[in-house]
Amino acid sequence: MTAASEGRKFTMTTLKQLTAAAGFVLAALCISPVLAAGDTHEAKDVDFSFEGPFGNFDRGELQRGFQVFIEVCGQCHSMNYLNYRNLAEEGGPEFPEDQVKAIAAEFMVMDGPDAEGEMFERPAKPSDFFVAPFPNVEAARASNGGAYPPDLSLLAKARAGYHGTWNQFINGAGGAEFIYSVLTGYEEEAPDDGEDHGALAYNPYFPGSWIAMPQPLFEDMVEYADGTTASVEQMSRDVSAFLMWAAEPKLEARKRIGFQVIIYLIVLSGLLYFVKRKIWANVDH
């Protein structure tokens, strides 16, 4: 008996130590980034109005962001999943209807065939998709030194500025922060790694640190309708917020409905708890 229980005691203490060690490894794993980010910088932290459970978009910011997009980024990048009408919809920049009509009308789209069987060009309507700057990927590449400027409709959700299981849970994936960081992250002084990067620009916030997009934003590049000073930081921030909206146009409705659902479920759970307790009160269990 003694030998057996000794042996068991030994196994149990060893096991406890093992468990503790495993727990420690686990904790270490939790804080380590899940995907190694290489030499790319973690995105800069930006305080956006749409963060947190109650955060909504800032209309003025979205409108300014749209202006930056249409005047600068839209020269190279497409925005395939947005319609012009989206600009007037609730939860977005909420431009007045007639302004959206005017914005759309500045672009020409191919339509047809007409009664004679001919295709024709006409000004875009709010129901049309955003007109892309290039007719196809090849044309876009040809104008950008072989690099393809990716579609921006979903970029804010398709990129992560933050890494790590826990970090992303608390701070989100940081897609908008990633865009902001790339736009403001150009550095004149590139480290000399002995390689020839041709026409690529050095930007440590972009994976690989060398980007085919030349710095797109410079001071006072746009003249904001609301008089805001167009610094590089300001424009970058505005356009990043705009791209977040473009990627997640139902964000405000989602959080609003979510809040109602959560409150409803908390009340329901509470009631069910008391019903359950009442029913079980006379049972030994």
Binding site: L35, Y81, L154, K157, V261
Partner: protein, 424 residues
């Protein structure tokens, strides 16, 4: 089936149906009066939660299917159409995508519950095996579903996983071409994946039915692991467990809703918001989180075929678990050493999950190999040996006795009972 029907009614129509198809009596005896151990804890609520998850996925999936287009040129766009233009489409899609994850959280808890309380042991072996079949069909369904939005991870995940079949000796390459319906993952692949993703949940309904049928033959296990001895040990399913399950389900839905409305993309991969491009390989190809431990086992073995075998073996070992376990005692409550090994296994699986998310190099590879070895060691060596060397704690004579002891003073409990080695 256990429990006999004492269904009575004065309604002539119901009577007419009942004499021809005794469905009301069946419902009464199996869903209302069904005798259930009175000491089930909240870990037992996950069966109901899982049935709920399946129902949600099917209902929401059918609505998504009304707006989704299974074509390589349109699939990604049609999901964005759901997100942007379909009324509450964003909510449906986030429910369905998060629902897959919630389903797996529930099933893993449900299975670990079964392991902890020895629910797989005689006479519930077949019930347990049907559970493993459910897990396999769920995995297939979720894998196929993840391909449908046709993002980068959809495409490359499909490519990596289907390519595993090329490891099959002799016919491997042909098998993969047959699976793909071509020489790469392409439109035929997407179409058949969609067809199967629609089919399998209904297969699941069938297997779940068998699972519950088997449950209603043996009755529930319970936290003591001691078989029901008398009527005093049980209470009727309704209203006791219907209400307990309802409360637990409301809490589960609360967590579910938190993810749907506040962290809808946390459980997915950002890169899947970029349309599939067969020419651009993502930097890291990782499956959804619920596959990561299995993916880690697959990649910890540097030989393709052996890796695939190990991955499938890690699930198959669950099928034979009822016969690997040599202990007569079901519940970990009375198995002090097993209890600790149980938690080590849980930790091992979580570690394997983290390993699966990282490239199989350096330390990660090493940790993955140790984790994999330990996983099999647990089932193939530790479990069979423990039953032989471990001295179980004394067990109460019955469920009612255990309940009495537990209520008599939290300190005493089952340990205070003289060593009544109740036959389980």
């Amino acid at each position: 089936m256990a429990g006999h029907s004492n269904f009575e009614t004065n309604n002539p129509l119901i009577k007419w149906v009942e004499t021809r198809l005794p469905i009301f009596g069946l419902m009464q005896s199996q869903a209302m009066d069904f005798p259930t151990p009175k000491n089930l804890n909240y870990w037992w609520t996950f069966g109901g939660i899982l049935t709920f998850c399946l129902a949600v996925q099917i209902v929401v999936g059918i609505v998504l299917a009304m707006h989704y287009t299974p074509h390589v040129d349109m699939a990604f766009g049609s999901v964005e159409h759901i997100m942007r233009n379909v009324n509450y489409g964003w909510m449906l899609r986030y429910i369905h995508a998060t629902g897959g994850s919630m389903f797996f959280i529930a099933v893993y808890i449900h299975m670990f519950r079964g392991m902890y309380y020895g629910s797989y042991k005689e006479p519930r072996e077949l019930l347990w095996i049907l559970g493993v079949v459910i897990l396999l069909v769920m995995m297939a369904t979720a894998f196929l579903g993840y391909v449908l939005p046709w993002g980068q991870m959809s495409f490359w995940g499909a490519k990596v996983i289907t390519s595993l079949f090329s490891a099959v000796p002799l016919v491997g390459e042909d098998l993969v071409v047959w699976l793909w319906g071509g020489f790469s993952v392409d439109n035929p692949t997407l179409n058949r994946f969609y067809s199967l993703h629609y089919l399998l949940p209904f297969v699941l309904v069938g297997v779940v039915f068998l699972h519950i049928w088997a449950l209603h033959v043996t009755g529930n296990n319970n936290p003591t692991g001691i078989s029901v001895k008398s009527e005093q040990d049980t209470i009727s399913f309704h209203p006791y467990y219907t209400m307990k399950d309802a409360f637990a389900m409301a809490l589960f839905v609360l967590v579910f809703a938190f993810f749907v409305f506040y962290k809808p993309n946390y459980l997915g991969h950002p890169i899947n918001y970029q349309e599939a491009d067969p020419l651009v390989t993502p930097e890291h190809i990782v499956p959804e989180w619920y596959f990561l431990p299995f993916y880690a086992i697959l990649r910890s073995i540097p030989h393709k075929l052996l890796g695939v075998i190990a991955m499938f073996a890690s699930i198959f070992v669950l099928v034979i678990l009822p016969w690997l376990d040599t202990s007569r005692v079901r519940s970990a409550r009375y198995r002090p050493i097993f209890k600790q090994f149980f938690w080590l296994l849980v930790i091992d699986c979580v570690i394997l999950g983290f390993v699966g998310a990282n490239p199989p190099e350096g330390t990660w590879l090493l940790v993955g190999q140790i984790g994999t070895a330990y996983y099999f060691l647990h089932f193939l060596v530790i479990i069979p040996l423990l039953g032989l060397i471990e001295t179980p704690k004394p067990r109460p004579t019955s469920i009612s006795q255990a309940v009495l002891d537990a209520n008599k003073g939290k300190g005493g409990g089952a340990d205070a009972v003289p060593s009544a080695q109740a036959a389980e």
